[in-house]
Symmetry: C2
Subunit: 221 residues, 2 copies
Amino acid sequence: MRVRTDLNISLDGCAAPDPSSGTPDNPLGEDWSRLVAPYVATRTFQSQVLGNQGTGTTGVNDRYAKEYFEGAGAEIMGAGKFGLHMFGEDPGWRGWWGDNPPFHHPVFVLTHTAPRPSIEMEGGTVFHFVSASPAEVLAMAVDAAADGTDVRIGGGPTMVREYLKAGLIDVLHLAVTPVILGQGENLWADLRNIDLEYTAFSESGEDGVSHVTFTRRRIAR
Amino acid sequence: MRVRTDLNISLDGCAAPDPSSGTPDNPLGEDWSRLVAPYVATRTFQSQVLGNQGTGTTGVNDRYAKEYFEGAGAEIMGAGKFGLHMFGEDPGWRGWWGDNPPFHHPVFVLTHTAPRPSIEMEGGTVFHFVSASPAEVLAMAVDAAADGTDVRIGGGPTMVREYLKAGLIDVLHLAVTPVILGQGENLWADLRNIDLEYTAFSESGEDGVSHVTFTRRRIAR
Protein backbone atom coordinates (compact mmCIF):
# COMPACT_ATOMS: atom_id res chain seq x y z
CA MET A 1 0.00 0.00 0.00
CA ARG A 2 1.29 3.39 -1.01
CA VAL A 3 -0.17 6.84 -0.51
CA ARG A 4 -0.08 8.46 -3.90
CA THR A 5 -1.06 11.77 -5.45
CA ASP A 6 -1.19 12.87 -9.07
CA LEU A 7 -1.46 16.52 -10.05
CA ASN A 8 -1.31 18.59 -13.19
CA ILE A 9 0.79 21.66 -12.52
CA SER A 10 2.04 24.47 -14.72
CA LEU A 11 5.74 25.08 -15.24
CA ASP A 12 5.44 27.92 -12.74
CA GLY A 13 3.88 25.64 -10.12
CA CYS A 14 0.18 26.49 -10.37
CA ALA A 15 -1.98 23.49 -9.55
CA ALA A 16 -5.39 25.16 -9.51
CA PRO A 17 -6.72 28.10 -11.46
CA ASP A 18 -7.46 31.48 -10.03
CA PRO A 19 -11.21 31.30 -9.27
CA SER A 20 -11.61 34.72 -10.84
CA SER A 21 -10.59 33.28 -14.23
CA GLY A 22 -13.86 31.32 -14.46
CA THR A 23 -16.89 32.43 -16.49
CA PRO A 24 -20.48 31.09 -16.52
CA ASP A 25 -19.73 29.24 -19.77
CA ASN A 26 -16.40 27.90 -18.49
CA PRO A 27 -16.63 27.78 -14.67
CA LEU A 28 -13.10 26.44 -14.17
CA GLY A 29 -11.69 29.03 -16.51
CA GLU A 30 -9.39 29.17 -19.50
CA ASP A 31 -6.33 28.64 -17.28
CA TRP A 32 -7.68 25.29 -16.12
CA SER A 33 -8.38 24.25 -19.72
CA ARG A 34 -4.80 25.07 -20.71
CA LEU A 35 -3.35 23.33 -17.64
CA VAL A 36 -5.14 20.01 -18.14
CA ALA A 37 -5.37 19.96 -21.96
CA PRO A 38 -2.78 17.16 -22.47
CA TYR A 39 -4.42 15.08 -19.71
CA VAL A 40 -7.94 15.61 -21.04
CA ALA A 41 -6.68 14.59 -24.50
CA THR A 42 -5.69 11.10 -23.32
CA ARG A 43 -7.69 8.06 -24.30
CA THR A 44 -8.06 7.15 -20.62
CA PHE A 45 -9.59 10.48 -19.61
CA GLN A 46 -11.81 10.51 -22.69
CA SER A 47 -13.23 7.06 -21.92
CA GLN A 48 -13.16 6.96 -18.09
CA VAL A 49 -14.41 10.45 -17.38
CA LEU A 50 -16.15 11.70 -20.50
CA GLY A 51 -17.48 8.39 -21.82
CA ASN A 52 -15.98 8.93 -25.28
CA GLN A 53 -14.82 5.47 -26.31
CA GLY A 54 -12.08 4.96 -28.89
CA THR A 55 -10.73 8.51 -29.03
CA GLY A 56 -7.75 10.20 -27.41
CA THR A 57 -3.96 9.97 -27.29
CA THR A 58 -2.27 6.68 -26.38
CA GLY A 59 1.31 7.68 -25.51
CA VAL A 60 3.18 8.44 -22.30
CA ASN A 61 0.59 10.90 -21.03
CA ASP A 62 -2.09 8.22 -21.41
CA ARG A 63 0.02 5.63 -19.59
CA TYR A 64 0.22 7.93 -16.56
CA ALA A 65 -3.50 8.68 -16.80
CA LYS A 66 -4.20 4.94 -16.81
CA GLU A 67 -2.07 4.40 -13.71
CA TYR A 68 -4.05 7.12 -12.00
CA PHE A 69 -7.29 5.23 -12.46
CA GLU A 70 -5.99 1.69 -12.02
CA GLY A 71 -3.99 1.53 -8.83
CA ALA A 72 -6.23 3.06 -6.20
CA GLY A 73 -8.47 1.36 -3.63
CA ALA A 74 -9.63 4.50 -1.85
CA GLU A 75 -9.37 8.24 -2.33
CA ILE A 76 -9.28 11.27 -0.07
CA MET A 77 -10.40 14.52 -1.69
CA GLY A 78 -10.92 18.09 -0.58
CA ALA A 79 -14.35 19.67 -0.27
CA GLY A 80 -13.71 21.82 -3.34
CA LYS A 81 -13.01 18.86 -5.62
CA PHE A 82 -16.33 17.30 -4.64
CA GLY A 83 -18.06 20.64 -5.18
CA LEU A 84 -19.08 21.50 -1.62
CA HIS A 85 -17.71 25.04 -1.96
CA MET A 86 -20.27 25.68 -4.70
CA PHE A 87 -23.09 23.25 -3.92
CA GLY A 88 -22.67 22.52 -0.20
CA GLU A 89 -26.05 24.11 0.56
CA ASP A 90 -27.80 21.52 -1.61
CA PRO A 91 -28.34 18.29 0.37
CA GLY A 92 -28.99 16.44 -2.90
CA TRP A 93 -25.57 17.28 -4.46
CA ARG A 94 -23.80 14.05 -5.44
CA GLY A 95 -20.62 15.40 -7.11
CA TRP A 96 -19.76 16.21 -10.72
CA TRP A 97 -19.41 12.70 -12.07
CA GLY A 98 -22.97 11.47 -12.75
CA ASP A 99 -24.54 8.29 -11.33
CA ASN A 100 -21.52 6.07 -11.99
CA PRO A 101 -18.40 8.05 -10.97
CA PRO A 102 -14.99 6.93 -12.24
CA PHE A 103 -13.62 5.99 -8.80
CA HIS A 104 -15.27 2.60 -8.13
CA HIS A 105 -14.02 2.58 -4.53
CA PRO A 106 -14.59 4.52 -1.27
CA VAL A 107 -13.93 8.27 -1.46
CA PHE A 108 -13.43 10.31 1.71
CA VAL A 109 -14.43 13.95 1.27
CA LEU A 110 -12.86 16.35 3.78
CA THR A 111 -15.33 18.86 5.15
CA HIS A 112 -15.42 20.94 8.27
CA THR A 113 -18.67 22.70 7.41
CA ALA A 114 -21.04 20.28 5.70
CA PRO A 115 -21.42 16.96 7.55
CA ARG A 116 -23.75 14.69 5.60
CA PRO A 117 -24.60 11.02 5.29
CA SER A 118 -22.53 8.78 3.05
CA ILE A 119 -23.72 8.37 -0.54
CA GLU A 120 -23.53 5.02 -2.30
CA MET A 121 -23.25 5.44 -6.07
CA GLU A 122 -23.35 2.95 -8.94
CA GLY A 123 -20.18 1.07 -9.79
CA GLY A 124 -18.69 0.84 -6.31
CA THR A 125 -18.05 4.48 -5.48
CA VAL A 126 -19.15 5.46 -1.95
CA PHE A 127 -18.68 9.06 -0.81
CA HIS A 128 -18.00 9.52 2.91
CA PHE A 129 -17.88 13.01 4.44
CA VAL A 130 -15.41 13.36 7.27
CA SER A 131 -13.95 16.02 9.51
CA ALA A 132 -10.67 14.82 11.05
CA SER A 133 -6.90 15.33 10.84
CA PRO A 134 -5.04 14.27 7.67
CA ALA A 135 -3.53 11.26 9.52
CA GLU A 136 -6.91 10.19 10.92
CA VAL A 137 -8.62 10.34 7.54
CA LEU A 138 -5.71 8.47 5.99
CA ALA A 139 -6.18 5.69 8.54
CA MET A 140 -9.85 5.43 7.56
CA ALA A 141 -8.94 5.26 3.87
CA VAL A 142 -6.25 2.62 4.40
CA ASP A 143 -8.80 0.58 6.32
CA ALA A 144 -11.37 0.93 3.55
CA ALA A 145 -9.04 0.20 0.62
CA ALA A 146 -8.79 -3.33 -0.75
CA ASP A 147 -5.57 -5.18 0.09
CA GLY A 148 -2.67 -4.28 -2.16
CA THR A 149 -4.25 -1.11 -3.51
CA ASP A 150 -3.09 2.47 -3.06
CA VAL A 151 -4.73 5.32 -1.26
CA ARG A 152 -4.98 8.30 -3.53
CA ILE A 153 -4.75 11.88 -2.27
CA GLY A 154 -7.06 13.42 -4.82
CA GLY A 155 -6.52 17.15 -4.33
CA GLY A 156 -7.05 20.05 -4.69
CA PRO A 157 -3.59 21.38 -3.98
CA THR A 158 -4.43 22.81 -0.56
CA MET A 159 -5.08 19.37 0.94
CA VAL A 160 -2.19 17.83 -1.03
CA ARG A 161 0.11 20.37 0.62
CA GLU A 162 -1.29 19.44 4.04
CA TYR A 163 -0.51 15.78 3.40
CA LEU A 164 2.96 16.61 2.04
CA LYS A 165 3.76 18.74 5.08
CA ALA A 166 2.58 15.94 7.36
CA GLY A 167 5.00 13.56 5.60
CA LEU A 168 2.14 11.25 4.60
CA ILE A 169 2.64 10.99 0.82
CA ASP A 170 4.81 8.18 -0.59
CA VAL A 171 4.54 8.93 -4.32
CA LEU A 172 3.96 12.37 -5.80
CA HIS A 173 3.44 12.29 -9.57
CA LEU A 174 3.36 15.65 -11.33
CA ALA A 175 2.37 16.15 -14.93
CA VAL A 176 4.14 19.45 -15.58
CA THR A 177 2.38 21.21 -18.46
CA PRO A 178 4.52 23.79 -20.32
CA VAL A 179 2.26 26.75 -19.62
CA ILE A 180 2.99 29.80 -17.48
CA LEU A 181 -0.16 30.79 -15.59
CA GLY A 182 1.31 33.34 -13.20
CA GLN A 183 -1.76 33.16 -10.97
CA GLY A 184 -3.83 30.60 -9.10
CA GLU A 185 -2.81 28.27 -6.31
CA ASN A 186 0.89 27.42 -6.23
CA LEU A 187 1.64 23.86 -5.17
CA TRP A 188 5.06 24.76 -3.80
CA ALA A 189 4.11 27.54 -1.41
CA ASP A 190 5.77 26.80 1.92
CA LEU A 191 7.33 23.48 0.75
CA ARG A 192 11.00 24.54 0.48
CA ASN A 193 13.33 21.51 0.32
CA ILE A 194 10.48 18.97 0.42
CA ASP A 195 12.36 17.15 -2.37
CA LEU A 196 15.09 16.13 0.08
CA GLU A 197 12.71 13.46 1.41
CA TYR A 198 12.25 11.94 -2.05
CA THR A 199 14.02 10.46 -5.05
CA ALA A 200 12.99 12.10 -8.32
CA PHE A 201 12.44 10.48 -11.71
CA SER A 202 11.61 12.37 -14.90
CA GLU A 203 9.93 11.06 -18.05
CA SER A 204 8.91 13.20 -20.99
CA GLY A 205 5.40 13.01 -22.43
CA GLU A 206 3.70 14.47 -25.48
CA ASP A 207 2.93 18.18 -25.96
CA GLY A 208 5.93 19.28 -23.93
CA VAL A 209 4.66 17.67 -20.72
CA SER A 210 7.26 16.48 -18.20
CA HIS A 211 6.21 13.76 -15.80
CA VAL A 212 8.19 14.12 -12.56
CA THR A 213 7.65 11.43 -9.94
CA PHE A 214 8.93 11.84 -6.38
CA THR A 215 9.18 8.60 -4.40
CA ARG A 216 9.77 8.80 -0.69
CA ARG A 217 13.15 7.53 0.54
CA ARG A 218 12.65 4.64 2.93
CA ILE A 219 14.53 6.21 5.80
CA ALA A 220 13.89 5.21 9.38
CA ARG A 221 11.66 7.71 11.12
CA MET B 1 21.04 32.76 -36.42
CA ARG B 2 18.91 32.18 -33.39
CA VAL B 3 18.80 34.00 -30.08
CA ARG B 4 19.04 31.30 -27.47
CA THR B 5 19.09 31.07 -23.71
CA ASP B 6 19.77 28.12 -21.41
CA LEU B 7 18.91 28.21 -17.73
CA ASN B 8 18.86 25.82 -14.82
CA ILE B 9 15.67 26.38 -12.86
CA SER B 10 14.11 24.60 -9.92
CA LEU B 11 10.73 22.90 -10.19
CA ASP B 12 9.29 25.93 -8.44
CA GLY B 13 10.82 28.33 -10.95
CA CYS B 14 13.85 29.68 -9.11
CA ALA B 15 16.67 30.51 -11.49
CA ALA B 16 19.06 32.21 -9.10
CA PRO B 17 19.67 31.63 -5.42
CA ASP B 18 18.70 33.99 -2.69
CA PRO B 19 21.90 36.02 -2.10
CA SER B 20 21.41 35.56 1.64
CA SER B 21 21.95 31.80 1.24
CA GLY B 22 25.65 32.33 0.47
CA THR B 23 28.46 31.89 2.96
CA PRO B 24 32.15 32.89 2.76
CA ASP B 25 33.05 29.26 2.02
CA ASN B 26 30.26 28.85 -0.53
CA PRO B 27 29.49 32.33 -1.91
CA LEU B 28 26.70 31.18 -4.25
CA GLY B 29 25.11 29.17 -1.47
CA GLU B 30 23.81 25.65 -0.95
CA ASP B 31 20.69 26.39 -3.02
CA TRP B 32 22.83 27.14 -6.05
CA SER B 33 24.80 23.93 -5.55
CA ARG B 34 21.58 21.90 -5.45
CA LEU B 35 20.12 23.70 -8.46
CA VAL B 36 23.07 23.13 -10.78
CA ALA B 37 24.32 19.77 -9.44
CA PRO B 38 23.19 17.69 -12.48
CA TYR B 39 24.69 20.28 -14.86
CA VAL B 40 27.98 20.52 -12.96
CA ALA B 41 28.15 16.70 -13.01
CA THR B 42 28.25 16.57 -16.83
CA ARG B 43 31.43 15.71 -18.70
CA THR B 44 31.10 18.94 -20.68
CA PHE B 45 30.95 21.19 -17.62
CA GLN B 46 33.74 19.25 -15.93
CA SER B 47 36.07 19.64 -18.91
CA GLN B 48 35.04 23.04 -20.36
CA VAL B 49 34.66 24.97 -17.13
CA LEU B 50 36.59 23.09 -14.45
CA GLY B 51 39.35 21.62 -16.61
CA ASN B 52 38.73 18.09 -15.32
CA GLN B 53 39.27 15.90 -18.37
CA GLY B 54 37.71 12.46 -18.69
CA THR B 55 35.24 12.67 -15.82
CA GLY B 56 31.53 13.43 -15.67
CA THR B 57 28.21 12.09 -16.94
CA THR B 58 27.66 11.49 -20.66
CA GLY B 59 23.89 11.19 -21.04
CA VAL B 60 21.08 13.55 -21.98
CA ASN B 61 22.13 16.25 -19.51
CA ASP B 62 25.60 16.26 -21.06
CA ARG B 63 24.20 16.50 -24.59
CA TYR B 64 22.36 19.70 -23.62
CA ALA B 65 25.45 21.04 -21.89
CA LYS B 66 27.48 20.40 -25.03
CA GLU B 67 24.95 22.27 -27.18
CA TYR B 68 25.24 25.19 -24.79
CA PHE B 69 28.94 25.51 -25.46
CA GLU B 70 28.97 24.60 -29.14
CA GLY B 71 26.39 26.69 -30.93
CA ALA B 72 27.10 30.24 -29.85
CA GLY B 73 29.04 32.97 -31.67
CA ALA B 74 28.43 35.76 -29.17
CA GLU B 75 26.94 36.12 -25.70
CA ILE B 76 25.13 38.84 -23.80
CA MET B 77 25.37 38.57 -20.03
CA GLY B 78 24.21 40.60 -17.06
CA ALA B 79 26.58 42.53 -14.82
CA GLY B 80 26.03 40.04 -11.99
CA LYS B 81 27.11 37.03 -14.05
CA PHE B 82 30.39 38.78 -14.89
CA GLY B 83 30.84 39.73 -11.24
CA LEU B 84 30.46 43.50 -11.43
CA HIS B 85 28.03 43.53 -8.49
CA MET B 86 30.82 42.15 -6.30
CA PHE B 87 34.00 43.34 -7.99
CA GLY B 88 32.89 46.36 -10.05
CA GLU B 89 35.13 48.65 -7.98
CA ASP B 90 38.21 46.72 -9.07
CA PRO B 91 39.37 47.96 -12.52
CA GLY B 92 41.50 44.80 -12.85
CA TRP B 93 38.57 42.36 -12.48
CA ARG B 94 38.45 40.05 -15.52
CA GLY B 95 35.59 37.70 -14.59
CA TRP B 96 35.49 34.33 -12.83
CA TRP B 97 36.84 32.15 -15.59
CA GLY B 98 40.63 32.56 -15.53
CA ASP B 99 42.84 33.67 -18.43
CA ASN B 100 41.15 31.42 -21.01
CA PRO B 101 37.37 31.65 -20.42
CA PRO B 102 35.09 28.97 -21.91
CA PHE B 103 33.30 31.34 -24.32
CA HIS B 104 35.84 31.74 -27.16
CA HIS B 105 33.77 34.51 -28.76
CA PRO B 106 32.69 38.11 -28.02
CA VAL B 107 30.78 38.60 -24.76
CA PHE B 108 28.72 41.75 -24.16
CA VAL B 109 28.36 42.59 -20.48
CA LEU B 110 25.42 44.83 -19.63
CA THR B 111 26.30 47.56 -17.18
CA HIS B 112 24.77 50.89 -16.37
CA THR B 113 27.24 51.73 -13.63
CA ALA B 114 30.72 50.53 -14.57
CA PRO B 115 31.77 51.51 -18.10
CA ARG B 116 35.21 50.09 -18.80
CA PRO B 117 37.42 49.26 -21.77
CA SER B 118 37.01 45.94 -23.56
CA ILE B 119 39.19 43.06 -22.35
CA GLU B 120 40.75 40.61 -24.78
CA MET B 121 41.35 37.21 -23.16
CA GLU B 122 43.12 34.10 -24.38
CA GLY B 123 41.21 31.70 -26.62
CA GLY B 124 39.06 34.23 -28.46
CA THR B 125 36.93 35.61 -25.65
CA VAL B 126 36.60 39.41 -25.70
CA PHE B 127 34.54 41.14 -23.00
CA HIS B 128 32.76 44.32 -24.06
CA PHE B 129 30.95 46.49 -21.49
CA VAL B 130 27.85 48.19 -22.84
CA SER B 131 24.96 50.30 -21.63
CA ALA B 132 22.08 50.18 -24.12
CA SER B 133 18.60 48.70 -24.59
CA PRO B 134 18.17 44.92 -24.97
CA ALA B 135 17.46 45.29 -28.69
CA GLU B 136 20.48 47.55 -29.25
CA VAL B 137 22.85 45.19 -27.47
CA LEU B 138 21.37 42.27 -29.40
CA ALA B 139 22.14 44.09 -32.65
CA MET B 140 25.76 44.50 -31.55
CA ALA B 141 26.00 40.82 -30.67
CA VAL B 142 24.44 39.66 -33.95
CA ASP B 143 26.96 41.85 -35.75
CA ALA B 144 29.86 40.39 -33.78
CA ALA B 145 28.86 36.72 -34.05
CA ALA B 146 30.31 34.57 -36.79
CA ASP B 147 27.90 33.69 -39.62
CA GLY B 148 25.59 30.81 -38.82
CA THR B 149 26.19 30.93 -35.08
CA ASP B 150 23.71 31.75 -32.33
CA VAL B 151 23.63 34.66 -29.96
CA ARG B 152 23.35 33.43 -26.42
CA ILE B 153 21.47 35.33 -23.71
CA GLY B 154 23.63 34.26 -20.82
CA GLY B 155 21.67 35.38 -17.77
CA GLY B 156 21.12 35.97 -14.92
CA PRO B 157 17.38 35.61 -14.91
CA THR B 158 16.67 39.34 -14.60
CA MET B 159 18.10 40.11 -18.01
CA VAL B 160 16.65 36.90 -19.49
CA ARG B 161 13.23 38.14 -18.42
CA GLU B 162 13.90 41.50 -20.06
CA TYR B 163 14.72 39.77 -23.34
CA LEU B 164 11.71 37.45 -23.06
CA LYS B 165 9.38 40.39 -22.42
CA ALA B 166 10.85 42.22 -25.41
CA GLY B 167 10.06 39.17 -27.59
CA LEU B 168 13.73 38.78 -28.54
CA ILE B 169 14.39 35.13 -27.59
CA ASP B 170 13.87 32.41 -30.20
CA VAL B 171 14.85 29.34 -28.16
CA LEU B 172 14.50 29.03 -24.38
CA HIS B 173 16.01 25.82 -23.01
CA LEU B 174 15.30 25.06 -19.37
CA ALA B 175 16.96 22.31 -17.40
CA VAL B 176 14.35 21.86 -14.68
CA THR B 177 16.03 20.35 -11.63
CA PRO B 178 13.67 18.49 -9.25
CA VAL B 179 14.40 20.65 -6.22
CA ILE B 180 12.05 23.03 -4.43
CA LEU B 181 13.96 26.13 -3.34
CA GLY B 182 11.06 28.34 -2.29
CA GLN B 183 13.26 31.44 -2.38
CA GLY B 184 15.55 33.29 -4.77
CA GLU B 185 14.76 34.88 -8.12
CA ASN B 186 11.76 33.36 -9.89
CA LEU B 187 12.13 33.20 -13.68
CA TRP B 188 8.38 33.36 -14.27
CA ALA B 189 7.55 36.51 -12.35
CA ASP B 190 5.47 38.71 -14.63
CA LEU B 191 5.59 36.30 -17.62
CA ARG B 192 2.03 34.97 -17.57
CA ASN B 193 1.11 33.22 -20.85
CA ILE B 194 4.57 33.76 -22.40
CA ASP B 195 4.33 30.12 -23.55
CA LEU B 196 1.61 31.07 -26.07
CA GLU B 197 4.36 32.52 -28.28
CA TYR B 198 6.27 29.22 -28.33
CA THR B 199 6.05 25.51 -29.09
CA ALA B 200 7.25 23.36 -26.20
CA PHE B 201 9.24 20.12 -26.32
CA SER B 202 10.15 18.02 -23.29
CA GLU B 203 12.97 15.50 -22.91
CA SER B 204 13.88 13.74 -19.69
CA GLY B 205 17.44 13.72 -18.42
CA GLU B 206 19.23 11.95 -15.59
CA ASP B 207 18.69 12.69 -11.90
CA GLY B 208 15.07 13.65 -12.41
CA VAL B 209 15.93 16.62 -14.63
CA SER B 210 13.37 17.65 -17.28
CA HIS B 211 14.67 19.55 -20.28
CA VAL B 212 11.91 21.81 -21.61
CA THR B 213 12.68 23.73 -24.80
CA PHE B 214 10.44 26.53 -26.01
CA THR B 215 10.88 27.45 -29.69
CA ARG B 216 9.26 30.62 -30.97
CA ARG B 217 6.41 30.15 -33.44
CA ARG B 218 7.31 31.77 -36.73
CA ILE B 219 4.24 33.94 -36.89
CA ALA B 220 4.15 37.18 -38.87
CA ARG B 221 4.71 40.17 -36.63
